[in-house]
Amino acid sequence: MALLEARRVTKVFGGLVAVSAVDLSVGERTVASLIGPNGAGKTTFFNCLTGLYRPEEGEIRFNGQPMIGLRPDQIVAAGMARTYQNIRLFGSMTVLENILVGQHVRLRSTPLGAIFQTPFTRREEEQAERRARELLAFVGLSGKGDLTARNLPYGDQRLLEVARALGSSPRMLLLDEPAAGMNPRETDGMLRLIRRLRDELEMTILLIEHDMKVVMSISDQVTVLDYGKKIAEGQPAAVRSDPLVIEAYLGSGMLEGHSKLT
Amino acid sequence: MRQKWQIAGLFLLLAGCAAPAPAPQTAAEVAPAAEEAAPAAEEAASAQVVIAPGQTIRIGGSFALTGPIPDPGKDIRQAAEIAVDELNAAGGIDGFLFELVAEDGACSGDQGTVVGNKFAADSTIVAVSGGTCSGETFGLKPILQRARIPFVSPSATNPDVVDAECDVCNRVALSDALQGQVDADFVFNQLGLRKVAVMHDNSDYGKGLAEIFQNAMVALGGEATAFEGVQVGDTDFRAALAKIGAGQPELIFFGGYSTEAALIAQQMKETAGLENARFMSDDGAYTQQYLQAAGAAAEGTYMSFVAGDAQAEKLAAFTEAYVAKFGVEPSQLGPFHGQSYDSIQLIADAIRRVAQPDDSGNLVIDREALIAAIRSTAGLAGITGTLTCDELGECGAGGVQIFTVENGAFKQVAGFGM
């Protein structure tokens, strides 16, 4: 059974149908990609999945549980974590603290516990910190834990977002354009990281990406949105040659995208 | 992480506080100040004030120099300065001159507490004139009572400022209880009005007076159609007045200060049901500011004032000295300069009676004797009349006067002295 099952998800803003009856199912331990021209509704769909928007219609099931109507924090607790297209770290916190915030839903200590520094709280904090350092090492940021998040280089900030999302020990990770704004070498690093997420951490990954090289080289499954509708789905190779997809990219003037497609 | 240690330190400190108190007494021994009451002990200052030759007899003053009524407070302070100047020009006491230690009581209980503690900590303070406002005086009262420093308030009119328990509390102002009674009597008997509406500014002074007036009115057989409060600082009272107007009162009584009184006097003229109603207010509004701010609307309104038995020549001499020193008529600022002047004179008179020179040429003032001496003041001639203190510490002379406004000036129509 698929881990994430979305059926006929529809989101309307005023008169504009941003996402129209989109079905999507992502199997466990796969990397699925969501592509489409600008304004196709990819991020809106993401926001519906993570509970930031409430879709007007449709059903979203994660791990068999209905997700619609849950708050974003409840969805994180259910095991779905995300990153953002424009990096949104807690800039004034240290790198380590960012990951600790990411672990919030997995920690149980109470304010009273913190005030009295109960053994449980102390133990939990120690474990959380250790885990945060492990996550840092995993994404390759070890030794940078005490830096201020804002002062990290751009690529590292992207990594930190991933690490923060990993903090909540998710089963599924939603990455919104993880390679945006990166140079080719950085993109390669990110690709390797995503593979390791899937292979080593057994994580399911849904990503939005513009860079076709990334999409095609990593995805097990590609879904194409245009004007809020799903126009194609399948193996990367099949989608690449789908005339509807080519049309969508050409029609919207994304020649650049097309050239990468062919 | 760094803060953890700081906090650990603070916690240490907390532990220190919890420890039994006697330990740091060595510290207290280091600091038994020459001029300050030993702080560790109970606050009682030494029983006597010893003034060495060349030093001054220091009288504290708690004046409302900031806060809601700075002008009357300034007036009170300046009048006190005139009184001190005059005492010193007359040679002081055996060559010991007086000094006024003015502090800002800001018309608030908060500042009253601070000022009270400042005076109590200063063992050279002999007595205090003040505070200006009742709330401020409530702040001073418990502290000065413990420190055994007598005070004489020129203008705190709340009935509770003096009481049987407090032997250092005195005032030359007259209690609001008296004013409210006389006002009601004037309205009921002389103006012959029965239906009144009562307003106040929600200050302890204004509301207290308004209640006394209302109760007195009802006791006489009158009727109070409304009892409404306003907020100091508001400028539009038309809605409250419209509500009052619905009850068709013959007179509005307002307990509060001049700005709000002036605005009410003006805006009631525009309100249905109040076109012909009269307006009366209290000594807080008996000021030049009221006349200026209310303008034509002030004509025919009534003000009461708890006046002294004004001693014309003394007052004239005082006014002359005041204008010479400050360049302004005292009545421009506020109504309580006479009381302020007298409070200093009363204190000085009591000091003169108890001060004793000792062998080494110092002047010695016994605190308990001074407290008793102020209470036993009798027949002292001041600007506001002949001052005699009763067993509660009410030393004021005179009585309530009722004024009306005619051609932009106050004119007495009833009450004390007529």
Partner: protein
Amino acid sequence: MQFAGMALQPLKAVRIYCEIRVMVKTPSFPTLVRLRQASAVRWWVRLLGVVLLLLLAWRVAVVGLAEGYPASFWISQTLNGLVLGGVYALIALGYTLVYGILLMINFAHGDVMMIGGFTGFFALQLWIGVGWLDGSALWVVLALVLTVVAGMLGSVLAGITLERVAYRPLRGAPRLVPLISAIGASLFLQYSVLLIFGVTPRAYTRPALIEGGFRAGDIFVPYTGIIIFIVSLLLMLALYLIVQRSKLGRAMRAVAEDKSTAALMGINVDQVIVFTFILGSALAGAGGVLLGFHNTVVKFNSGFIPGLKAFTAAVLGGIGNIPGAMVGALLLGLIEALGPSALGIPTEYKDIIAFSVLVLILIFRPSGLLGEVLSEKKA
């Protein structure tokens, strides 16, 4: 007044305009978070609202109306409320304008108004000294207009000084920093005026022309009140047109949207902000003088409480929204005038009623009555 950048490159202005349109059309991320949550609790909130309204209606019917005030009473209270609302509107417009452009609460705005009141007072004294107020109606009108102009000049001077000294160096700082600076500026203005001009309230002399009022039976509205109401309506309209229709208004909106982009488009951001302050302060100055004629008294702190109320009104209507400020102000005025009588409680409670209504309205409409979704993003 023209700004070089805008005048030389009209095309750019159009492009900014289009950009703004795009930004308005695409709902921003946080706004939508709130929309989603709102739907989750909407049902409960509505139920609560209905219950509250029923309770209020019950209270009004049982207590308020039972007091048996005549109809004329309710009419005059309504008129009182509208006039009071007009006064609040005069100040609230300035608040909302500055907020809309700079996203900062100009806490000292009420005190800028007070400065205008003082300047107007001294100008009026001058005209009286010259004898204009004793002259023909024409001279009196001239004197009145010049008094208002003087008040506006005084306020504008205070406003631009404030902007230059206390706000401009803080542009781009976190929101709390300019707010604290504004609180400091407010206290500074108040207590400087107290020290310089003394505590004595200054009393405006009303010329016979505007003394008295309109009377019909038991209903009476002072002329000053009518003037205030009309002027505030006109000023609101003028302001709305300036912001919505003029080139300058477009520049102002561009600055509001994104200062750095606006600067890239050739807009002189400093000039636009100064102009915003000039506009807001001029409104406040006019308000100060009119209020002086209406209530006849100006004092060092006479801007503080009206300023606070006006700020409340601006938030009530949706801060940053010009018609909203007007609506909020009128509503607040009406509530203050009618509320206590209608609910049968003492007038002392009028501020409690006013603030409670504010809280309630914000619960149901978190961005105020007419607040745009956009303003929430900024808030």
